[in-house]
């Protein structure tokens, strides 16, 4: 496919850049290839071999390998993140390896957009709209979760200890979520409230 992809977030590019600050940097992730893989118990290890990337079986964990990652979404469901150019060949490889088995490999590259939120206040920003415990004792690099952020269904992936979070969202919700994040970050640039030390 010709690389004519535009996303609903393009018009917000400047606002997203302007919102970022030292404590919390917000950015759009480049478009990435996404394959939603559903695989029954007998197909998991075959799929791992075909991908040359072992699928995580521990809930809410991410297995990464260079430019690819396998994100645990359910006991029989993963999201494979990979370069966009590799989607067709990867789907074909999975279909060959799992032929006749209980599985589904579907190109969903355009079904989610990614945002990255990074910096020492990233957890605080997410905590304004997410009920999950994102404290380092509870959520670490390599962890992921499907949750709600500002009432929007998201897939959250922690990448590093900066901390950097990837927030994957359905494109239809992306504008609302980006606006919400821009709003949530805004207070970090303000002078502290006199007499308030929390």
């Amino acid at each position: 496919m010709a690389d004519r992809g535009t996303t609903i977030l393009d018009p917000l590019a400047a606002a997203i850049a302007a919102a970022s600050c030292e404590e919390a940097r917000l950015s759009r992730l480049p478009l990435v290839g996404q394959v939603t893989l559903r695989a029954g118990r007998d197909a998991v290890s075959l799929a791992g071999v075909a991908l040359d990337l072992a699928l995580p079986t521990e809930p809410n964990r991410v297995a990464s390998d260079g430019g690819r990652a396998a994100v645990w979404l359910g006991p029989d469901e993963w999201l494979i993140l990979l370069p966009r150019g590799d989607v067709a060949s990867t789907v074909a490889r999975l279909e060959m390896a799992l032929d006749g088995g209980h599985f589904a490999a579907v190109d969903t590259s355009a079904a989610r957009l990614g945002l990255a939120l990074s910096g020492p206040a990233a957890r605080q920003v997410l905590a304004k709209g997410c009920g999950l415990d994102l404290h380092p004792r509870a959520f670490a690099p390599g962890d992921c979760a499907q949750t709600a952020l500002a009432r929007v269904p998201v897939l959250l992936v922690q990448r590093d200890e900066a901390p950097t979070f990837w927030v994957f969202v359905r494109p239809s919700y992306a504008v609302f979520l980006a606006r919400w994040l821009i709003d949530a970050i805004a207070e970090l640039r303000l002078a502290p409230i006199p007499g308030l030390d929390t």
Partner: protein, 992 residues
């Protein structure tokens, strides 16, 4: 004038004077004051008028329990009603007014209510319902609303920001007094994550009221040390000015933090004024303290009557004396310290009156020359405007039998203490009456919750510190952390004697004795309610309103229970207590809404093509959370004009619609065909690869649930489309059946709704437009027949093209990856320009489909409509089983006179039937007129040149050609019943 500022003392900053306005007059206070302390320091006794009788009232307490001193704070859009002056931190320029006084506090016309007080006794409100008929609406309600009540809600939008924050903790400690501090310190010592929430601006502020030492230093210094220790730990979050308003199951608490209310309005622009905290804790320690109780006697509401502990708080924390000559009336030891503190501050203490015959050792008072009158009670507080004297009498009639009058301008009262059990009770924790302490205490247990200190009925400092420490350590250990901290030591002594109450022998003076100050409920009201049979505490509350209002009876409840029990000759334990519901104190709506206001009110979903619709100035409608273009008006065009034009374009030329919101589910697996056969009422297994089929699905009850077109991509792969609003619930439905009922089926479902953007190109010229975009695709009817699809290249993009029509016209649905959606839309409009292509919205789509008699789930169906009702009996498979099939054989669903889908043609072709209108056979029939159906959709049709409607009409198919009537506002519309397919019944246009 009575109260005044002491020359020294208190935790106020005398170098920072603050000017403020109360009830239109200007005053000065200090940084660190509350509005209440500054008013008392300024000599203001009269700060409020009571709810019902408009009696003069003064500040009564020093905290959240305040029943009297409610104010309207701020002005204009920032005006906020019914805030407690005792909790409002003073700031420069603060503006406040009394809530229930007109024209003013000092001269309040409502005070005339006192003259008719006998008519306003408990339950008078209910008695107004008895008649005369019509008086309630015309007289009673307007009068009551004018005379009674509280502050006024602001009418302008709130200019302030509010937000929410989620936090997780191993241990939540509610209350930053001695017990809470000890608990937080102990819990945090081993490294547990701790959240400490304190209502006030300072931790351990109450310790300044106490002379005892803790760990060798004054209590307040110990509190400062603990606060510093907690602040130094990154595992601890201390939330000051934060009220835990609700406590829920599994350690979930909701708290409101007042972040900028201590500053002048607008002083912290951009910051949230209040923050709603969602706290989730594995263990919770409730150390919310206790509220001192009033004593009940005639005149006990006069300005100058105050809680003894509050009097001490004003002395020690704010450097304010509440009067110049005091009497202390107490049934509890704690108020003895108030008497001593008053004397030490230079306030004359005329007497300490104690109903207990064995008053505690009063050497400290004797040394200060204060007389103690054991076995005595204040039987009346008298004075004009405020207390000027009290009548004191021996309870057993001893002495000369005469009551003594003692002059004073301050009467400090204490009737013991009520543990703050609200949060524990919210969690359905049981409360039991403690006869010795005369209070309701937590009993039983609630998982994960420990109540410590005064909230548990342990009112002395030593016990509070010990209990808090133990609770904190236990919580830490229970959550996997070591017990490190050592218990704090204190010099404080426990009280010598239990408190005494006078509920069963109320002092027999003249005048009203108030049980509930905020709601103006007296002992007579309680007795009246008991006489009228309202002897259960919940009935008493509802009949007299005791315990209602903004304070929810924090000072009133136990006295009401006690007085009722006294009237009935039973113990308060037998009477029992009402339970508590959130919130502990009122919460602003703004805090509950947080940032979900304005542009962020609720998530909005938009398609990839949305920016073009905005540029085209489309009018949008909400479909679930989706924003869909409803119509695209030309300048000067209204809804009707635009829709008629858009419809005509599709019928006569070509139109384009953004259909990206339709749900799409890829269903895949060896058993996919078998699965869909069970889901849909019509067969799917036989569908050929490359073909499409319209399908309807039912719930188990046989009622239509969703519909859409199914594409067979491969023998084991289907693409299911759903309604826009039904996408998520259909996927859930599929998963539910696959996971719970049919785990043997090897099928996986994947949502691809947002993978694709979809543009429908419809109309007689559609083929020319698509042909220009996809020159290599054979589009002729023979090569690419109706209800088939092809994969190919459209406008240079990989696309799936389907011949599906929801308009009855020749139509192509173009699907591309959603990232290419905008480019596709632009290409379609560009290619269509020479054919006069018109973008059309959901309203035109609705009209077009209705002309064809196509139903819409949620318009024509409402969960009570079967496929047969919709005229789909030929779709219903005979030779396979499917969800809902059995229900379609029930006697009720096989009735032939059910409501059935028909069209209605108003006899006046210009007349539009109102959607939702009920249909009747005889509009002149006497009420109740039998209803025979209702209008589900109603439009004007360009193609038909008239108005028409779809309707569900009882036995409608048998009645085609007959008449029904619909009330439309003031008149009645007559309409002919017709076959639902009004346009191109043969379908030749669609197949073309």
């Amino acid at each position: 004038m009575s109260g005044y500022r002491l020359p020294a003392g208190g935790r106020v900053d005398r170098d920072r004077p603050l000017a403020f306005t109360f009830d239109g007059r200007r005053f000065t206070g200090f940084q660190g004051d509350t509005l209440a302390s500054a008013l008392i320091a300024s000599g203001e006794r009269l700060v409020a008028r009571s709810f019902k009788y408009h009696r003069p009232r003064g500040v009564y307490s020093a905290g959240a329990e305040e029943p009297n001193a409610l104010v309207q704070l701020g002005a204009g859009a920032r005006s906020e009603p019914n805030l407690r002056a005792t909790q409002i931190e003073l700031h420069d320029g603060l503006v406040a007014a009394a809530v229930n006084a007109w024209p003013g506090l000092r001269f309040d016309l409502g005070a005339a209510n006192q003259l008719v007080a006998p008519l306003l006794a408990a339950g008078f409100y209910y008695k107004t319902f008895l008649g005369p008929r019509g008086w309630w609406r015309r007289f009673y309600e307007p009068a009551i609303r004018r005379m009674a009540g509280m502050g006024r809600a602001p009418t302008l939008p709130d200019p302030d920001l509010y937000d929410h924050m989620h936090i997780h903790a191993d241990v939540l400690v509610v209350g930053g007094g001695p017990a809470g501090l000890a608990a937080a310190r102990a819990a945090a010592s081993g490294g547990a994550r701790v959240v400490l929430a304190e209502d006030g601006p300072l931790l351990g502020a109450g310790l300044v009221d106490d002379d005892a030492t803790v760990d060798g230093v004054p209590g307040i210094a110990w509190a400062d040390e603990v606060a510093a220790d907690l602040a130094g730990r990154d595992t601890v979050t201390v939330l000051r000015r934060t009220t835990v308003a609700g406590l829920y199951d599994h350690g979930y608490a909701v708290a409101v933090e007042r972040r900028t209310d201590h500053l002048p309005p607008g002083a912290a622009p951009g910051h949230a004024r209040q923050r709603l905290w969602h706290i989730r804790a594995r263990r919770t320690v409730l150390a919310a303290g206790a509220h001192e109780r009033p004593l009940v006697f005639p005149g006990n509401d006069r300005p100058g009557v105050m809680l003894a502990g509050a009097v001490r708080t004003y002395l020690r924390r704010y450097g304010v004396a509440c009067g110049r000559r005091a009497v202390v009336f107490t049934g509890d030891d704690a108020a003895y310290a108030t008497a001593a503190a008053l004397a030490d501050a230079g306030v004359a203490v005329a007497a300490v009156v104690d109903p207990r015959r064995d008053a505690p050792d009063a050497a400290a008072l004797a040394a200060r020359g204060i007389a103690v009158l054991p076995g005595h009670a204040v039987i009346a507080a008298d004075g004009k405007g405020g207390v000027e004297s009290v009548l004191v009498a021996a309870l057993d009639g001893s002495g000369d039998g005469q009551a003594r009058r003692i002059g004073c301008d301050l009467l400090a009262v204490s009737g013991g203490w009520s543990p703050v059990v609200h949060l524990y009770s919210q969690l359905r924790g049981r409360l039991a009456y403690d006869d010795r302490l005369a209070c309701f205490r937590p009993a039983g247990s609630v998982a994960g919750v420990t109540v410590a200190g005064a909230a548990d009925g342990r009112f002395d400092l030593a016990a509070c510190l010990a209990a808090g420490h133990e609770a904190g350590l236990a919580a830490a250990v229970a959550t996997g952390f070591p017990a490190v901290a050592a218990a704090p030591r204190t010099s404080a002594q426990p009280p010598a004697l239990p408190p005494a109450m006078l509920w069963d022998r109320p002092p027999a003076g003249r005048g009203k004795a108030f049980v509930d100050l905020q709601n103006d409920v007296t002992t007579d009201d309680v007795a009246l309610a008991a006489r009228e049979g309202f002897t259960a505490i919940e009935h008493l509350k509802r009949y007299t309103t005791t315990g209602m209002g903004t304070d929810q009876g924090k000072t009133a409840n136990v006295n009401a229970i006690g007085v009722l029990s006294g009237v009935l000759g039973r113990s308060p334990g037998e009477t029992g207590t009402t339970t508590f519901r959130p919130p502990y104190t009122p919460v602003a709506y703004g805090a509950l809404a947080g940032r979900f206001v304005g542009e962020l009110f609720d998530p909005e979903r938009v398609t990839p093509i949305h920016p073009r619709h905005v540029e085209a100035e489309a009018v949008f409608e909400n479909v679930g959370q989706w924003k869909r273009p409803r119509f695209f008006p030309h300048p000067g065009e209204d809804l009707e004009g635009a829709v008629l034009r858009e419809c005509r374009a599709v019928r006569e030329g070509v139109g384009a619609m953004d259909a990206s919101t339709l749900g799409k589910i890829e269903v895949r697996g060896p058993d996919a065909a078998a699965f869909l056969d069970r889901i849909y009422i019509n067969p799917m297994a036989g569908l050929a690869v490359g073909a499409c089929r319209y399908g309807v699905m039912c719930r188990e009850d046989g009622m239509v649930f969703d519909d859409g077109v199914v594409l067979r991509l491969a023998p084991d792969r289907f693409l299911v489309t759903t309604t826009t609003g039904g996408a998520a619930r259909v996927l859930d439905w599929f998963e539910e059946w696959l996971q719970t009922e049919w785990p043997g089926l090897r099928v996986f479902c994947t949502s691809v709704t947002e993978q694709w953007a979809t543009v429908a190109v419809a109309g007689p010229l559609a083929r020319a437009v698509v042909g220009a975009l996809a020159p290599e695709m054979e589009l002729g009817a023979a090569d690419f027949p109706f209800m088939t699809f092809r994969d190919g290249i459209v406008a240079g993009m990989a696309a799936r093209v389907a011949r599906i029509s929801f308009s009855g016209e020749l139509a192509f649905e173009l699907n591309v990856e959603s990232t290419a959606g905008l480019a596709l839309w632009d290409a379609v409009l560009a290619a269509g320009r020479r054919h006069g292509i018109v973008p059309y919205g959901t309203e035109a789509m609705h009209v077009l489909r209705a002309e064809k008699g196509y139903f819409i789930v949620g318009h024509e169906t409402d969960g009570t409509v079967t496929p047969i009702d919709l005229g789909l009996e030929r779709m219903v498979a005979k030779r396979k089983d499917f969800l809902g099939k059995r229900s379609l054989g029930r006697s009720d669903t096989v009735r032939t006179d059910r409501k059935q889908l028909v069209a209605l043609l108003p006899e006046d072709p210009e007349e539009l039937l109102p959607e939702g209108a009920q249909l009747v056979d005889d509009p002149k029939a006497p009420a109740p007129v039998p209803m025979v159906g209702h209008v589900t959709s109603s439009y004007r049709s360009a193609a038909l040149g008239r108005s028409f409607a779809l309707a569900l009409v009882r036995d409608g198919r048998q009645r085609i050609g007959g008449r029904v009537f619909a009330p439309a506002g003031a008149h009645v519309v007559a309409a002919r019943i017709a076959d639902p397919v009004l346009f191109d019944p043969g379908g030749s246009r669609r197949d073309g």
